[in-house]
Symmetry: C2
């Protein structure tokens, strides 16, 4: 078991990472929820697989707990599902000493986290992320949200969890495509801030893809540590935290255009977004060609897409980027690669090269 401490003053918390982390849920809930009651929010797939163990751990520790399962998939990140959670929390008459457990992937963490953020103006919650994407990304930093039909994550809050339990064993049953999608964020973290981790990923790609537990424990822990150091310095994304949006400006746009369907997973969109951003950086003369190649090669080692055969029309892309919430003063901003391990954020770029970059062709400066 590894631990990462995330330091936010009074709201600091610990991430537990290991092959049986979920067994600690009851124990964690005892210290996080003094009121002794909890609602476990999950999706139907995860609930079937891990719900009984989670409830058993809570009940053994003397926590009165119930389970609410929403349909699996991004469509559950909606005001409608949020409202269902409020109905259940209110009818259980939970008070501020009670809590919520978000058991599942990123969708559940975002949805459950937002419910906890605004029910009674904030109750404590524990994240129990069961997907790689959630373990390395959304469980660190306290961002919670639901989608709006006009844009992803348009409605949300910053609300730090009281604890995070990342059970590496839950990655065993993760579908291959979701595992790959999680690796996109792992590669992103290494690319923006940790050249040594990038090299580790290049050298250990095979072990990681075989889901070797020791390798995954290390990868998850290093990612959490790296992301924690960034969000601690800039909780509300006024500066440094923007670097985490590498690949997200175009990534979110093509995700929005695909309608958050299963046709395109978040990590796949981000992988294409990163590759495109790297090509654009190179076109601007900011980043050596060799680093673009290393990035593209590593993403492809993990089975991720790095180009689109038919990128959306430029006008559509511009519209989708426009409606993205990362806009500032009306201008879309990009995170550009300087070299493996270093990025520059807040860059303005004309839309001239967007489609070229997404199509996989080199962009001229």
């Amino acid at each position: 078991m590894r631990t990462v401490r995330v330091a936010f003053g009074e709201r600091s918390y610990t991430i537990w990472i290991g092959a049986s982390a979920l067994r600690r849920l009851g124990e964690a809930a005892c210290s996080c929820f003094p009121g002794g009651r909890a609602l476990v929010v999950s999706d139907r797939n995860v609930a079937r697989r891990y719900g009984p163990a989670a409830l058993a751990s809570l009940r053994e520790a003397g926590i009165r707990a119930e389970l609410l399962a929403v349909p699996a998939g991004e469509r559950s990140k909606s005001l409608a599902q949020l409202s269902r959670i409020f109905d259940r929390l209110a009818s259980l008459k939970l008070d501020r000493g009670c809590g919520l457990v978000a058991l599942g992937g990123g969708v559940i963490g975002d949805l459950g986290g937002l419910a906890a953020a605004i029910f009674l103006r904030g109750i404590p919650y524990i994240q129990a992320p069961t997907s790689l994407l959630a373990q390395v990304d959304s469980s660190v930093g306290g961002k919670t949200a639901v989608d709006h039909r006009l844009g992803k994550n348009l409605i949300g809050a910053f609300h730090q969890p009281a604890a995070v339990l990342s059970d590496i064993a839950s990655l065993d049953t993760l579908p291959a495509r979701e595992f790959r999608s999680g690796m996109a964020e792992v590669v992103k973290h290494a690319a923006i801030a940790d050249a040594a981790l990038f090299t580790y990923l290049e050298r250990n790609a095979a072990r990681i893809q075989d889901r070797n537990k020791a390798a995954l424990e290390r990868v998850v822990a290093e990612n959490c540590r790296l992301k924690a150091r960034i969000v601690e310095k800039d909780e509300r994304e006024t500066g440094l935290r923007q670097s985490l949006n590498f690949g997200h400006t175009l990534g979110h746009a093509i995700e929005t255009l695909a309608g958050y369907s299963r046709r395109l997973l978040h990590g796949e969109a981000v992988a294409m977004g990163m590759a495109a951003a790297a090509r654009l950086s190179c076109g601007e003369g900011l980043c050596p060609k060799g680093d673009v190649k290393r990035l593209v090669a590593l993403l492809e080692r993990f089975g991720l897409p790095t180009a689109m055969r038919r990128p959306p029309a430029l006008r559509q892309l511009e519209g989708a980027v426009e409606s993205d919430k990362k806009r500032r003063r009306g201008k879309p901003r990009f995170v550009l690669l300087e070299r493996i391990g270093k990025v520059r954020y807040g860059c303005e770029l004309s839309s001239r090269g967007w489609r070229t970059a997404l199509s996989g062709r080199p962009v001229k400066g």
Copy 2:
């Protein structure tokens, strides 16, 4: 024009109080919304009366602004109306440099404030409270919320406004009953923390009821200052801020039972709740009879109810108190009066005397 500074570090802001404060809206929006665009949220009554002036002030200052009016009344503090605001904010493609103006009473401040708190995980907003209740109470402290059918303010957030403009002239047109309702919170502030203000209210009750502008400006400013000093010390209501719940434990309960209808205004419920809490304090031997009498007399001078002919059945009261969000670890807590100007919070009280206290009869210890 008087000003009160509310100190929350980076989130500090100024409250402007005066007979033409609303004219400063455009100027305030220029410094609060660098993106130069705003959505004004109001209710239909207030929008008819002050909407054109608000929009004119914004547009003169170069702010592109639109107005969204929801139906008047507490029923608009709902997820459904919140969702309408999100639809409008999203379709306007406002970014984080743009903002929201909450123009209206407490309902609009709570609803608009929550929309601003969670749209894009927080955009700036300006409160332009037009009711006495909103000017002396809900515009200070950053509490925002909507109701749930199982309880008032169950869904909300803490989100400090970027500025508050309290236009005293808007109190001229306030219906008498709403004015009285606002005075309940004024009396509450004086009772819990400022014996000198209490005496001022006793001596100037007639001028205040005549809506003398100088007297009202002083009353609003002193109330804002007093509440600001409390919430600055305890933004998230873990201690001192609980004293502001004086009269609210039973007040909220009878309000919940009345169904947030126009049959009972918030201030009327709080007035009865305060009188009941004072009688309970006296029954506990905590507060002299004379102070209970002064409190009841002052509330009655302002035309507020201090007793119910037929209080709800005890079981109903208990149920409604139970579901109130101020509960901690399952036990309802009371704020009890020690003397005019001083209260004690976090007190547990058996439900034995609740109905007696609400009926206006003295409670035995």
